[in-house]
């Protein structure tokens, strides 16, 4: 499955400034691994012990994977995977 992973502003320092990354993967975990293979520092920023860190939300086509199958959530071709941490700026 070819999907687009969207990176928020505060993480683009570890993706060489890239905000959208096209990768292949059948699940969210596979798609994120493909992104980590290109940008290794991102892995440590948003995962620990093989799982997502608690402050990171990931959405597939608008739905939170926390309420689906987590990193095992299946992807469809063309899905958007949005990585979203809380922001405090006002």
């Amino acid at each position: 499955m070819s999907v687009t992973v969207k990176i928020p502003a505060q993480l683009r320092s570890v993706t060489d400034g890239e905000g959208e990354i096209e990768v292949d993967g059948a699940t969210v975990g596979e798609a994120l691994d493909a992104v980590f293979n290109q940008h290794d520092d991102l892995r440590e920023r948003i995962t620990e012990d093989g799982g997502l860190r608690r402050f990171v939300n990931v959405y597939v086509s608008g739905e939170d994977i926390r309420f689906q199958d987590g990193l095992g959530t299946q992807l469809q071709d063309g899905d958007e995977v949005t990585i979203l941490p809380a922001v405090a700026g006002g």
Binding site: A9, Q10, R54, F55, N57, A86, G89, G90
Partner: protein, 396 residues
């Protein structure tokens, strides 16, 4: 045959127009039938005693019932005299009412001539003018405007988000605006915080905002809270308001506000901004998710740069602040569909909006199934949010 497209001047040349004073005389002395062809929401705003409301589109259908005798003198009026001119033309030309005439200048001229107009209750003449573009909207109307004037809204932060939203909420006639901010105006604020200005650098932000609001709309009562929200004062402050607007610039305040708002069941319109991106959602306790359902824990400090450190596009802050103001107006006037259970992301560089679904978390410690109602003795007790947001577990 007259059509809507025909220039109004041609129509007026064909018909008889009377001035408001003559019209009133004819109605009182000669039994002329006075018909208001405007729409019901316009009638609600102001009308003339003795007139019958027959919206333009229904005149042809209802006239035979109202005036069975085609020789009856029929005087039609609207807001400024154009719709009624067409109605009079149609009554004369197509339906044979030879004595139909239009009141020149409509109800506006009626009012200007000093003749009696029954105005809607609740708004002063100045308010009717000031809010006329609101009250013309059938969805808002007089009732919606009165609700806005009655509403009490608290803005947490008078900065990048609070400045634009406070300005527009004041213009919209939100009756009471509370402002929480313990900061003073700095030159670096002025690129986005449009409620402040160059002369007020160094002035407390709440005071500067109050001056701008009072100059814009004297209807608004401004309450300054030049303090920082903490566990000791938050319940007392937010309890005075109906709607809370979160434009805070730090996580401790955001989590504290959420937890206190859920306890007091106050809706929070929450937005945050960084660089070119913004997020906004509306949290209505127990109807939808709360901030903690969305973000159970804050990110560590190295992942949470402030706008001061990372920069922010001023216009983007304005867009997000005004989306918050839009949500507030909807909640206060009971309009439309609020952003409950939805998180709207704005990417200003791509000019893209993305909507994400936010669900209530059954395990949420604040509003989830296991979260007990807070006993009175626990009200006002909150954990150390500074420590929590620095990564130390709550209660540690």
């Amino acid at each position: 045959m007259a059509t809507v497209a025909e220039p109004i001047e041609l129509v007026k040349n064909r018909i008889e127009e009377v001035d408001p004073a003559s019209a009133q005389r004819e109605v009182e002395s000669d039994g002329a039938l006075l018909i208001d062809v405007r729409e019901p929401h316009e009638w609600d705003e102001a009308h003339v005693a003795g007139a019958k409301l027959v919206p333009l589109a229904t005149v042809a259908e209802r006239i035979t019932e109202l005036a069975p005798d085609r020789a009856q003198r029929v005087l039609l009026f609207c807001r400024v005299g154009n719709r009624s001119a067409r109605a009079a033309d149609s009554l004369r030309g197509e339906l044979g009412y030879e004595n139909a005439a239009s009141v020149a200048g409509g109800i506006e001229a009626w009012r200007s001539a000093g003749l009696q107009v029954i105005e809607a209750e609740g708004l002063t003449p100045e308010q009717r003018m000031r809010y006329s573009r609101h009250t013309l909207l059938p969805e808002v109307g007089i009732d919606g405007q009165l609700k806005l004037l009655d509403s009490k809204v608290l803005l947490i932060g008078a900065g990048g988000l609070g400045a634009p939203s406070a300005f527009y909420l004041a213009a919209a006639g939100v009756g009471t605006l509370g402002l929480v901010d313990d900061d003073v105006v700095d030159e670096s604020n002025l690129q986005r915080q449009v409620i402040h200005n160059t002369e007020r650098v160094g002035m407390p932000k709440t005071e500067s905002a109050r001056l701008s609001i009072q100059a814009l709309n004297p209807d608004v009562k401004v309450v300054e809270h030049p303090t920082r929200l903490g566990p000791d004062n938050i319940l007392e402050i937010i309890d005075q308001y109906d709607i809370l607007v979160d434009g805070a610039d730090n996580f401790p305040t955001r989590y504290l506000l959420n937890d206190a708002a859920v306890r007091l069941r106050k809706p929070v319109v929450s937005a945050s901004i960084l660089a070119f991106d913004g997020q906004v959602s509306t949290f209505v306790p127990y109807e939808g998710p709360c901030y903690r359902c969305l973000y159970p824990v804050p990110p560590p400090p190295e992942m949470a740069p402030s706008c001061g450190a990372a920069g922010v596009l001023g216009v983007m802050a304005g867009v997000m602040g005004l989306l918050q103001a839009n949500e507030v107006i909807k909640l206060a006037a009971g309009l439309g569909e609020p952003l409950v259970g939805r998180l709207l992301l704005y990417d200003s560089l791509g000019t893209r909006f993305t909507e994400l679904k936010v669900k209530r978390d059954p395990d949420c410690p604040i509003c989830g199934a296991a979260a007990a109602e807070i006993p009175e003795s626990e009200m006002g007790k909150f954990p150390d949010y500074e420590a929590f947001c620095a990564g130390v577990p709550v209660g540690a």
